[in-house]
């Protein structure tokens, strides 16, 4: 075996220029794929966290059955009443993967500073639970002034653009108006606790966070429209979804459970797009690797026809010739990938040190360009490249192995 590896290796370095070009093609392809994987991995992770924690949808959201279809026209009927809220939360919090379950009521209406008014949307949240859900995102959404707190029930957190439009700053007073669930017009005083950037351009001009109790008062109700569940790990999402679904059903509660992935269309869209871009890049790299290896090995096979004839005369079998070139291909794939690993580490390190930022579409502030270092993917791609180059080498070698020995020997 040793001898054949030596023979392959020497043949690779014999043709320095040609091997160099092939190795570079493999190395760069390898680097491109791994950098892109690292980037998408970090982006998915960021978007996932931003959906689950940043936008506050948690991992699972529980609605009363029918809410998503009929809730708009008859909200009162499809909301969860106080008794049910307690019952559901009690059941859910028995699950080991659940960190917390919290009721929420989303409201909308008109907010006015006395002179101007505009529409608003608000999440009615339990302040302490909201802070838990936000987790590390609490630091990413800096609030000027104070955050929500239970002590001041009419204190709200207002998005930057909305506050600017209404010329409101922390401590200022305003009025919100909305229809109660019975259809009565209701108006309540609010005070701006804090002003903050939601991170999303699209909602910065109409969004607020208000205490859950305040939302209930505005709608004159004791109900919640959903219960948001936070888990210890996003990977448990669908398992816990099914467990909870069953437990609630057994308890006689009719509900629907949506996952963060279902609720975050943005995440799915971006992931879909990136997955497609990845496939595209991968197939291009695949082409380059296969074609350049087939080309290199093809030339090598032709140049070494006489050598192949000699080896056959000395007694190597056809499959021995195939193996010889397979080793050579695999070695090209391996060396190319190892060079690729070096490139990848270098670029990864440069990005890590320089930490450049960019503003993704739909985002209201720049985010750091992050590339995760993924040993598993690197190893998988290494195997992939070796296998590809091996296959690419066998294609021309098979022809050489099958030709007549005398013809091969007579080849000049």
């Amino acid at each position: 075996m040793n001898q054949w590896i030596k023979l392959s290796f020497r043949n690779i370095i014999k043709n320095k220029r040609r091997s160099f070009v092939t190795l570079m093609a493999i190395a760069m392809g390898f680097t491109a794929i791994n950098l892109f994987s690292g980037y998408t991995h970090s982006t998915y992770e960021g978007m996932r966290a931003s959906a689950i924690r940043g936008s506050g949808i948690g991992h699972l959201t529980i609605y009363k059955k029918g809410w998503n279809k009929f809730g708009k026209s008859d909200p009162d009927k499809y909301m969860i009443d106080k008794k049910e809220i307690n019952k559901i939360i009690k059941i859910i919090e028995e699950n080991d993967s659940v960190i917390l379950a919290t009721p929420r009521l989303d409201i909308s209406g008109i907010v006015s500073n006395g002179r101007n008014s505009t529409i608003f949307m608000a999440q009615g949240v339990i302040p302490a639970d909201d802070k838990t859900i936000l987790g590390t995102f609490f630091d990413f959404q800096p609030v000027t002034g104070k955050t929500l707190n239970t002590k001041k029930e009419y204190g709200v957190q207002m998005a930057t653009d909305l506050a600017q439009y209404l010329q409101l700053k922390p401590e200022d007073d305003a009025v919100v108006m909305a229809a109660t669930l019975d259809g009565q017009l209701n108006a309540l005083d609010i005070q701006i606790s804090g002003v903050y950037d939601t991170g999303l351009d699209a909602i910065n001009d109409k969004f607020m966070k208000v205490p859950f109790r305040f939302a209930q008062s505005l709608y004159d109700s004791e109900k919640a429209d959903r219960i948001v569940v936070l888990l210890d790990n996003w990977k448990n999402t669908s398992i816990v979804q099914h467990q909870i679904m069953k437990q609630l059903k057994d308890a006689g509660i009719k509900c629907e459970i949506k996952t963060w992935e279902e609720l975050s269309a943005f995440y799915s869209n971006v992931k879909n797009m990136f997955d497609r871009v990845f496939l595209f890049i991968f197939s291009i790299v695949l082409d380059i690797v296969i074609m350049s290896t087939v080309n290199t090995m093809g030339m090598s096979v032709i140049e070494r026809t006489r050598e192949i004839g000699t080896l056959r005369a000395l007694g190597i079998k056809k499959r021995g010739i195939n193996m010889l070139f397979a080793i050579e291909g695999a070695m090209i794939g391996f060396i190319g990938s190892v060079v690729g690993v070096a490139f990848h580490m270098m670029i990864w390190f440069i990005i890590f040190i320089a930490s450049p930022t960019y503003t993704p579409p739909g985002s209201s502030s720049p985010v750091p360009l992050q590339v995760d270092f993924l040993p598993g993917t690197i190893f998988f791609m290494l195997m992939c490249m070796i296998f590809l180059a091996l296959i690419a080498a066998i294609l021309p070698a098979r022809r050489a192995a099958n030709q007549n020995v005398v013809d091969a020997l007579g080849h000049v």
Partner: protein
């Protein structure tokens, strides 16, 4: 029993429409330990005949026997094994592997056989000293003269202790002094190891060294 027996061997080459009759009915017996030359002008079919004995080519018709066993219709894998075990090839153009040293070239047939590297190395070293190339074991072929290369090829052909060594015009690319020494080396090995040698040559000067002469003309033996 004859080591090699050929019965009415015919070999035709097809070149488009025309048929080249390279061998037109060869009957031939070669015994163990013979030191035989196949002699004839260029184009008479010498190379074709050796290739058929060496099983790297197939006859159009006729049969080939080795130690009494018919071998012209065995599988390709069996032929490969047969060549590896029983045949040593020496080519006019040496055909050494350029990226391997003299020693590694000589080791090859044993390694194809599956012999361990250390054992193959020892054997190869011995064979290279038989042809007086101890000092060149680590040299690549392109650093050697024609005579040296052919001696490496002889060592390679002999390393498996084959039954037959087939040498197709082994001296054609060498000057006459070198040619003589090459033939002498082979003669010595023939006496010492009782290896059968079959040459082809059109060089008359070498003929007095031979035990037996087979004369070939237009694909027929004229003897």
């Amino acid at each position: 029993m004859n080591l090699i027996e050929m019965k009415n061997i015919i070999k035709d080459y097809y070149l488009g429409e025309t048929i080249v009759q390279a061998l037109r009915g060869i009957d031939l017996k070669i015994e163990k330990e013979e030191f035989t030359a196949i002699w004839g002008p260029s184009g008479s079919g010498k190379t074709t005949l050796l290739n058929l004995i060496g099983t790297i080519d197939e006859p159009s018709s006729g049969d080939l026997y080795f130690n009494g066993d018919k071998i012209n219709n065995i599988t390709d894998n069996n032929k490969s094994e047969f060549r590896n075990n029983e045949i040593g090839f020496i080519f006019q153009t040496f055909n050494l592997i350029p990226v391997l040293s003299a020693l590694e070239n000589v080791m090859l047939p044993l390694q194809i056989m599956g012999v361990s590297a250390s054992k193959a190395k020892k054997e190869a070293f011995m064979r290279l000293s038989d042809v007086e190339l101890e000092q060149y074991v680590n040299s690549r072929p392109d650093k050697m003269s024609g005579g040296q290369r052919q001696r490496v090829a002889i060592a390679r052909a002999l390393i498996t202790n084959p039954s037959i060594v087939l040498a197709d015009e082994p001296t054609a690319n060498l000057d006459s002094k070198t040619s003589n020494s090459i033939i002498e080396i082979m003669k010595k090995i023939n006496k010492k190891d009782k290896t059968t040698f079959i040459f082809s040559t059109h060089d008359q000067r070498l003929l007095d060294q031979m035990d037996r002469l087979i004369q070939l003309e237009d694909g027929r033996i004229t003897e």
